[in-house]
């Protein structure tokens, strides 16, 4: 690597950090506004026009706050944990393309790399929980470990299915494969599994049991304050954006839908800009759906979460991989896959709808007379 290449890479990475910070600020503002509207409130309105500077004010407040460390905390573990959560969340973005050229490094194993780094934040969460010397933090850290490990399987199986279907782990190539039919139509079951398990990976609302404010008061983050807490927060939103971008790339056709407009513009910079813009809009739409889900559903209990993970998501993800593997091996046309996907999804939905709405088993107490029991002997 020459010095020029090294400098260019450095420029890319620092630019990425800057852009991601701005994106996180916008996401927090967007989330507060969307939640406000879903609850018939206005959301932030005070700082700046329509409250647009609210997140910046919050950031300044967090940075200037005192950084507290518990006396009994395991010092090294306590300070390393936020870094270990943030760095993987940031490194994921090196391989995520926003158009065929707007990417730091277009890796051939991009999808594999992204999945590998998304898991790493568990270590940081468990370390934060352990290092805080706080029982709620430990419970939160262990919950995070259990949740993230069990929901990792469906995510990886879906990604494996897509890799089998496209015969590639390169994200740009996967987007190109969707130029005729996006995978949301071919693999709706995969989209469902990936999105739900992705929400669980992020610990966003229906699955936010490890930072559940009303149960474990913030989980692993209880003892953190000021800038270190802000780093956790930043990492959470960066990975939310990453999952949204992956959903757009893997299932919504990335930047492929505007291909005709890109060809019509012709100019390389112009067409790249249009591709980037399309991808950007798709990602933000997925993020909006995530916020919408947050405004709708209550939190799972931990046993419900585990039941959903191991009894529904994991078996379904294996079914998904088998379907895709058969379809690819025997070269079935794509519509066979989409029909079978919808069928599996429909049967699953119908089964759980029935189970939810059937009457619970009648509960009865049988009283045994002590004398009768003795006589029977």
């Amino acid at each position: 690597m020459t010095i020029a290449e090294f400098g260019l890479l450095n420029l890319w990475v620092s630019g990425l950090l800057l852009v991601l910070s701005v994106v996180v600020l916008s996401l927090i503002y967007l989330e507060r506004k969307v939640l406000g509207r879903l609850q018939m409130r206005l959301g932030p309105m005070r700082v700046g026009p329509y409250g647009t500077l609210q997140t910046i004010a919050d950031a300044i407040k967090l940075i200037t706050k005192e950084d507290i460390q518990p006396e009994w905390a395991d010092k090294r573990v306590y300070w390393v944990a936020p870094v270990l959560v943030f760095i993987p969340a940031f490194m994921v973005w090196i391989a995520i393309p926003f158009s065929s050229r707007v990417v730091v490094q277009d890796l051939d194993l991009g999808l594999f790399y992204v999945m590998a780094f998304l898991v790493l934040s568990i270590v940081g969460l468990v370390m934060a929980g352990w290092g805080s010397a706080n029982k709620y933090a430990v419970i939160g850290g262990l919950r995070a470990a259990g949740q993230l490990v069990s929901y990792e399987i469906p995510v990886i199986m879906v990604v494996a299915g897509i890799a089998i279907f496209t015969q590639s782990l390169n994200l740009s190539y996967i987007v190109d494969q969707q130029s005729s039919v996006p995978f949301i139509i071919v693999l709706p079951l995969g989209l469902f599994l990936f999105f739900v398990a992705g929400l669980a990976e992020l610990g966003r609302t229906p699955f936010d049991i490890y930072e559940a404010e009303s149960e474990v008061v913030g989980g692993p983050f209880v003892e953190y304050s000021g800038a270190h807490w802000a780093v956790f927060f930043l990492a959470e939103y960066v990975s939310t954006f990453a999952i949204a971008a992956l959903t757009a790339l893997l299932f919504l056709g990335g930047w492929g839908w505007s291909a005709s407009i890109q060809d019509w513009v012709g100019h390389p910079v112009g067409s790249e800009a249009i591709a980037f813009f399309e991808m950007f809009i798709k990602t933000y739409l997925v993020v909006l759906v995530i916020f919408w889900i947050r405004g709708t559903f209550p939190r799972f209990r931990i046993d419900q979460l585990m039941a959903l993970g191991w009894k529904v998501m994991v078996p379904l993800s294996f079914v998904f991989v088998l379907l895709v593997a058969f379809a690819t091996f025997y070269a079935w046309p794509w519509w066979v896959l989409s029909i079978t996907n919808v069928l599996v999804l429909g049967i699953m939905g119908w089964y759980y709808y029935k189970r939810m709405h059937q009457d619970p088993a009648p509960f009865s107490i049988v009283l045994h007379s002590a004398r009768k029991v003795r006589d029977a002997r």
Binding site: G36, G295, T296, M348, W350, Y352
Partner: protein, 161 residues
């Protein structure tokens, strides 16, 4: 699954409705008829005097002891204009202590005190807002105009008709 989709649709439809909150100091929600602010004394327009006779019931029943009152002989009764033998002389409510419980209104036998729409009366000092008779009557008669209040006897009469 189906229930989840129904829930999503429900929240989406909710988000299309107008917000029920307002940016408080800049914009205010409209005043509701049932709004309950600080208690104020009422003014009898027919005889041109307060309804309050200074009977001290509200003062005794007030859980925070925020009121004090003294009565005097009513000069208008001596002239034969008014049926009230005694009339209020000095009345004071310490607004900082009042908790807006409404007990004074419930116990009053003369329709003399009502919960008005006045709420924004806070000060920065502990006993910074003590309202004397004149201000209480002024704000009370304002409230009478705003809410279209009428005495109980008149209300009962109209209900019978």
């Amino acid at each position: 699954m189906l229930g989840n989709l129904k829930g999503m649709l429900m929240t989406f439809l909710t988000s299309l409705r107008a917000p029920v909150t307002a940016q408080y100091p800049d914009a205010r929600m409209p005043v509701e008829q049932r709004r309950m602010g600080f208690p104020m004394l009422l003014w009898d327009d027919n005889i041109v005097e307060p309804y309050c006779t200074g009977c001290m019931v509200c003062v005794r029943e007030c859980p925070t002891q925020c009121m004090s009152a003294t009565m005097k002989d009513n000069p208008k009764h001596a002239e034969g204009v008014s049926h009230r033998r005694k009339i209020i002389d000095v009345f004071e409510i310490n607004i900082g202590r009042c908790i807006l419980c409404g007990i004074c209104v419930d116990v009053c036998n003369f329709d003399a005190i009502e919960m008005s729409y006045e709420t924004e009366l806070s000060t920065r000092t502990r006993n910074g807002r003590r309202m004397m008779l004149g201000e209480l009557l002024e704000r009370g008669s304002n409230w009478q105009e705003q809410s279209g209040w009428m005495p109980t006897s008149q209300r009962n009469q109209e209900a019978e008709e």
